[in-house]
């Protein structure tokens, strides 16, 4: 069944199809334990069926010896082997202190999206949302937090999950092993749209990563098409800037995701919709229909032409 489930290509959230050091180590532990468990189960059920069949009666003294050997000694030995093999690896997975040169990316859980902040070489930081790029061959250190409810940050193919607990800062170190486009999700139930809180994660070559960060750190592009210029005006007039930042314009809100380069993102609404015109307009019109309980109000009242213009503006924020 496992094989059947895994046969359909490479599921982007699989814990077993790994692209990171931690996930690789854990998948190894999983296969090891699962095989052992399968053997133990087969033996246990075989013994049970044999006992039920009543082929042979044994004496009570012999039965008591079976209790000691099978009930006490065997599990103690098996568990000692398991604990001795698996647990020494725990510390490496969770205690990873940031090495001096590690690059510290901050991720904060919001309802229901991810606020991401990358350090730049000049010491400034650049705010992004709902996408994570990771340079291959480098270690990325994440600082995780939340100022609202508890979320849990999880990219299954890279590493185990770590909770984002209000009032605390938690940490996760990622060591990608291969270039990949994978997904992350919120693993801790966080309210109405918990199911709609995902993100895309891209492991790319270091040079490509540097180019990407360079591009992300730039101010927003000026709208080129006429529709986009109209959209920029709609954006300003509708008060979008109260919640969203578009660097280089007057919009400097921090309640919602930064939109400076939203046009470059693969997906919208915390990786729930694809970033095309139809879905973008649908989102602007009724965010609540996509993400129940979303804090962003709907803008259906703007009417179709202005929504199309607004959507064009967002598309050109590349």
């Amino acid at each position: 069944m496992l094989a059947a489930g895994l046969a359909g290509g490479q599921p982007p959230l699989s814990t077993l199809d790994t692209s990171g050091e931690d996930a690789r180590a854990i998948a190894g532990v999983f296969w090891w334990m699962a095989s052992g468990a399968a053997v133990v189960w087969l033996i246990a059920v075989g013994v049970l069926l044999y006992c039920l069949a009543g082929h042979r009666r044994i004496a009570r003294t012999q039965a008591r010896r079976i209790v000691v050997a099978g009930g006490v000694v065997t599990p103690l030995v098996l568990l000692a082997v398991l604990v001795g093999t698996v647990l020494p690896g725990v510390s490496r997975l969770v205690d990873g202190a940031p090495p001096p040169a590690a690059f510290v990316v901050r991720v904060a859980g919001e309802r229901w999206w991810w606020r991401v902040s990358y350090p730049l070489s000049d010491g400034r930081r650049v705010d992004l949302a709902n996408e994570l790029y990771l340079p291959l061959g480098r270690t990325t250190h994440l600082e995780l937090s939340s100022d609202n409810v508890i979320h849990s940050f999880w990219i299954p193919s890279l590493a185990g999950k770590v909770d984002m607990v209000p009032g605390r800062t938690t940490h996760l170190t990622l060591e990608p092993t291969r270039a990949a486009a994978v997904r992350g999700v919120c693993a801790e139930y966080c309210g109405a749209s918990h199911a709609r809180m995902a993100f895309d994660a891209f492991v790319v070559e270091a040079a490509e990563f540097d180019r990407w960060l360079q591009a992300e750190s730039r101010q927003a592009a000026s709208p080129e098409s006429a529709a986009a210029r109209d959209g920029a005006a709609v954006f300003a007039a509708s008060g979008c800037g109260a919640c969203h930042t578009v660097r280089g314009t007057g919009a400097a809100g921090t309640i919602g995701p930064d939109l400076t380069h939203v046009g470059r993102r693969r997906r919208l609404a915390a990786a729930t919709l694809s970033n095309d015109d139809d879905q973008r307009e649908h989102w602007l019109e009724r965010p609540d229909a996509v993400k129940p309980g979303a804090l962003m109000p709907g803008f259906a009242a703007l009417g179709a032409p202005r929504l199309t213009a607004l959507s064009a503006y967002l598309r050109e924020l590349r």
Partner: protein, 851 residues
């Protein structure tokens, strides 16, 4: 199989001398039937007989199980295909919350208490449990609380925080009433669960038949004892946690809000200190059923009785040290994770011991095939999978991936269905003949098993894979293209097959059986004495209380059946028309007392309604009505105690058979009431200590948790109150002494002075809070101080009520020098009050001074 040192009785009974003639036997039976009669008509609902209340309890828990199952089907329908719009997110979130909560709090835990109330007395040869009215009260509380919770779903007002209700989601982000319904509704049900636990502990320890030493009692009694003790220590941390969370929601005391210095993780600790033992509270009593059925099937005594008992106790102990494995992803250090991982894995050892004992028992016999054994075999095969995946998720590295995914959903259902539901179905098929003497159908039983077994595997095996493919739990829908579609569809189909299997068993139970033949007595040829009475059994429970000399008396004591039928045992009569049972000593089961217990009453129902109203009104923030309900509850409970407990018998002793003369009234530490009080107070103290745990938890987070200014403040008032409580306690002890010495004036002076000083202490504590500069909404330190001090005030206030009650009892002639249960229980209560106040002083005044 007769163990060494068989029944040790002072006077060997002479069977011929005691043998009753047929006529006197008929007369005895008529008197017994009258005393134990279950009321008819609308008064039926005032019954307190354990068999009747137990059946109500079982029926209601099974209805809640069915309700939870229907909710599960709704969830599976929603998840059958990606982007399904059958259920809106908010409805789905309510449904999974109610499903989990109902299955845990309204099915899994209460079913063990229900089955035990119904059958435990028969298994230990008792006519009743010592506090039948408490069982009835517990049942009504459970019924009211359960219906309140389930009903909320119909009004779209159900809780939606998940069954473990993590703040801050449930404190600051769900302002609607659902979370309050969860917090207060379950607090009420937890009170009922603790009431049942007290009843079962005292029942197992003090109402066994003469000769049934503690190492002869049926394994079921051992398991129930362990589970009930676990309830006693596991539920209070949750009750304390719910109190903190409700105080944060209703009054803004920031226990879990980091802005006020609180921490959401404290809830997780308190919840899982409850939540992990809870898993074993659910599991152990079901294993207990297996431990009763397997020897019957093998026709052989259990192999490794001592091993099984020690394993059950060991599991209980270990389960209190594992809770952190639910918190592996919260950012704890690796060493902590490794320690709790190893401890969690260790629990597999006692579990294995028990199953190997069962297997070895089967090997010593030629197991008969039966529907109960089919369910047990399927249950074990399933449970072993759950146990193995349990060891896997116990290993922190794998848990970092598996936590909060469908892998865990699959694991916990495999454990609970394999380890609890299948054994319960086995128990249903096995014990059904004890209710009326007719059996369930073998054919339907086999259908039920195979449908359930196949459906179960189709539902939950794919979920393991879904978890590995990254599907988080508690998602109302999912996108296509993640490799989850087929597996989810299969799981949904499986869920309906599983439901069909359960439905077949349900039909087997409710289908009319008028034409079905009565089964022969002891249809499974079991060795334990619940099979001794012929069925259908009159409402007296046991015709007489047998003397026991073996773990399997029906196999080893050949004259037992005849003696039973001829009434040759203890208490074969109800000469005074009263309900009577034997109280025996804890270890040796030597007869100590002929205990008279309460008969039918509506007081228990009204008391449950009043206490329930208190919680319901508090949920709707109608605090004035809640206060009124509290007052009514107090009046009803006092009426119940006044009329129904500690009655002075018309004679000192009574002949209970075989020349044994037993007292009708026991004083001091031998009284079952003293035991119940002591056990209850241990639970109360545990809840209090959970709050103290919170205090030190905050202190470990922030060494400046105690503000410098607070160190000096209010210490004087607290010390004064502490001194007053000490004095009131001493006066209570004095009152107990003078009452026993029959010095009435000294007694009244002492007990009333104690009450006055106690009231003064309550006033001082209240004043100290009101006058202090501590604002409980501003900081978690202030909130904790308020709660600890208020806890002391309420505790001492109840102590004052009890002191006044004792004075009134003596004044009314219901308490005398030789009949002093009331004052000795009050003194016991005051020991705990003094300890609580002392600990509070040490924490609030002493600790800041030394730290």
């Amino acid at each position: 199989m007769t163990p060494p040192g068989a029944l040790d009785r002072p006077h060997e009974p002479d069977m011929r001398e005691d043998a009753a003639t047929l006529d006197t036997r008929r007369a005895q039976e008529a008197r017994l039937a009258a005393a134990w009669r279950v009321p008819t008509g609308w008064r039926y609902w005032s019954a307190v007989n354990n068999t009747v209340v137990g059946q109500w309890y079982i029926a209601l828990t099974l209805m809640f199980f069915a309700f939870g199952g229907v909710l599960a089907l709704a969830m599976r329908l929603q998840l059958a295909v990606p982007e399904n719009t059958l259920l809106a997110a908010e409805h789905y979130n309510q449904i999974f919350t109610v499903h989990g909560s109902v299955m845990m709090f309204l099915f899994a835990i209460p079913i063990f208490e229900a089955v035990s109330i119904a059958f435990l007395p028969a298994m230990i040869g008792a006519r009743e449990l010592p506090f039948p009215r408490l069982s009835a009260f517990g049942f009504w509380a459970f019924a009211i609380g359960g219906l309140f919770l389930c009903g909320s779903l119909a009004f779209d007002a159900a809780p939606k925080g998940g069954w473990f209700m993590y703040p801050p989601l449930t404190s600051g982000y769900q302002p609607d009433i659902g979370a309050d319904i969860w917090l207060l509704g379950f607090s009420f049900i937890e009170v009922a669960a603790i009431a049942a636990a007290v009843e079962l502990i005292v029942g197992v320890l003090r109402s066994r038949p003469p000769g049934m030493r503690i190492d002869l009692m049926p394994l079921y009694a051992w398991y129930v004892l362990v589970a009930a003790v676990m309830v006693l220590f596991a539920f209070p941390p949750l009750i304390a946690g719910t109190m903190l969370l409700e105080l944060e929601r209703a009054l803004g005391w920031p226990f879990f809000d980091p802005r006020g210095g609180g921490d959401p993780l404290l809830w997780q600790h308190l919840f899982w200190i409850f939540g992990h033992p809870e898993v074993y509270i659910v599991f152990l009593p079901s294993v207990a059923l297996v431990a009763m059925i397997v020897p019957t099937a093998a026709r052989q005594p259990i192999v490794g009785y001592t091993w099984v008992v020690l394993s059950a106790i060991g599991t209980g102990f270990l389960s209190f040290g594992l809770w952190v494995h639910h918190m592996f992803t919260t950012g704890l250090p690796g060493l902590t994770l490794a320690i709790f991982s190893a401890a969690s894995a260790a629990v597999a050892v006692p579990t294995t011991v028990q199953f190997v004992c069962f297997a070895a028992t089967l090997l010593t016999g030629r197991p008969a095939r039966s529907v109960p054994m089919l369910f047990i075999a399927g249950g074990i095969a399933t449970f072993v999978i759950g146990g193995l995946t349990g060891v896997m998720v116990a290993m922190a590295p794998f848990d970092l991936q598996a936590h909060d995914t469908f892998f865990v959903v699959a694991h916990l259902h495999t454990v609970l269905i394999g380890g609890t539901v299948f054994p319960l179905l086995a128990g249903l098929y096995y014990y059904y003949p004890l209710i009326g003497g007719k059996g369930l159908s073998d054919r339907l039983g086999r259908w039920s098993f195979w449908l359930s077994f196949v459906g179960f595997n189709l539902t939950f095996m794919p979920m393991h894979v879904l978890g590995l493919l990254g599907m988080p739990r508690r998602v109302f829908t999912y996108s296509a293209g993640l490799g989850w579609e087929t597996l989810n569809l299969v799981a949904t189909a499986g869920a309906f097959i599983l439901a069909a299997g359960i439905a077949v068993a349900a039909w087997d139970v409710v289908r009319p059986k008028r034409r079905a033949p009565l089964l022969p007595r002891n249809p499974w040829q079991a060795g334990t004495i619940e099979w001794l009475p012929p069925q259908p059994n009159p409402s007296w429970g046991m015709r007489m209380i047998p003397a026991i000399a073996s773990r399997y008396p029906l196999w080893d004591q050949p004259s037992l059946v005849r003696d039973y039928d001829e009434g040759r045992g203890f208490l074969p009569d109800a000469e005074e028309g009263r309900r009577e049972m034997l109280v025996t000593s804890t270890v040796d089961a030597a007869p100590q007392q002929c205990l008279r217990i309460g008969g039918p009453t509506f007081l228990t129902l009204w008391a449950a309604v009043a206490v329930g109203s208190m919680f319901v009104f508090a949920t709707f923030k109608r605090y004035e009505l809640a206060a009124l309900s509290t007052a009514v509850s107090l009046v009803l409970v006092l009426t119940w105690l006044w009329t129904g407990t500690g009655a002075i018998p018309e004679k000192a002793t009574k002949h209970v058979g075989f020349g044994v003369e037993l007292p009708l009234y026991l004083r001091g530490r031998d009284a079952v009431g003293w035991w119940a009080m002591c056990i209850t107070m241990l639970a109360v103290l545990t809840a209090f200590l959970s709050i103290v745990f919170g205090y030190f938890f905050y202190w470990t987070l922030d060494a400046d948790f105690v503000p410098g200014a607070a160190r000096a403040q209010g210490g004087g008032a607290l010390a004064a109150a502490g001194g007053a409580v000490g004095l009131a306690w001493a006066l209570t002890l004095g009152a107990r002494h003078w009452n026993a010495a029959d010095r009435g004036r000294a007694f009244y002076a002492s007990v009333l002075a104690g009450a006055a000083i106690g009231a003064g202490a309550v006033a001082t504590l209240s004043w100290a809070l009101a006058a202090s500069a501590l604002d409980p909404t501003a900081s978690v330190y202030a909130a904790t101080v308020w709660l600890l001090v208020a806890w002391c005030a309420v505790h001492v206030g109840l102590g004052v009520v009890m002191q006044v009650y004792c004075a009134a009892r003596r004044f009314a002639g219901r308490m005398t020098a030789g009949h002093d249960i009331d004052i000795s229980n009050t003194a016991l209560f005051w020991h705990f009050a003094a300890a609580t106040v002392g600990i509070t002083m040490a924490v609030l005044v002493g600790f800041p001074a030394v730290s």
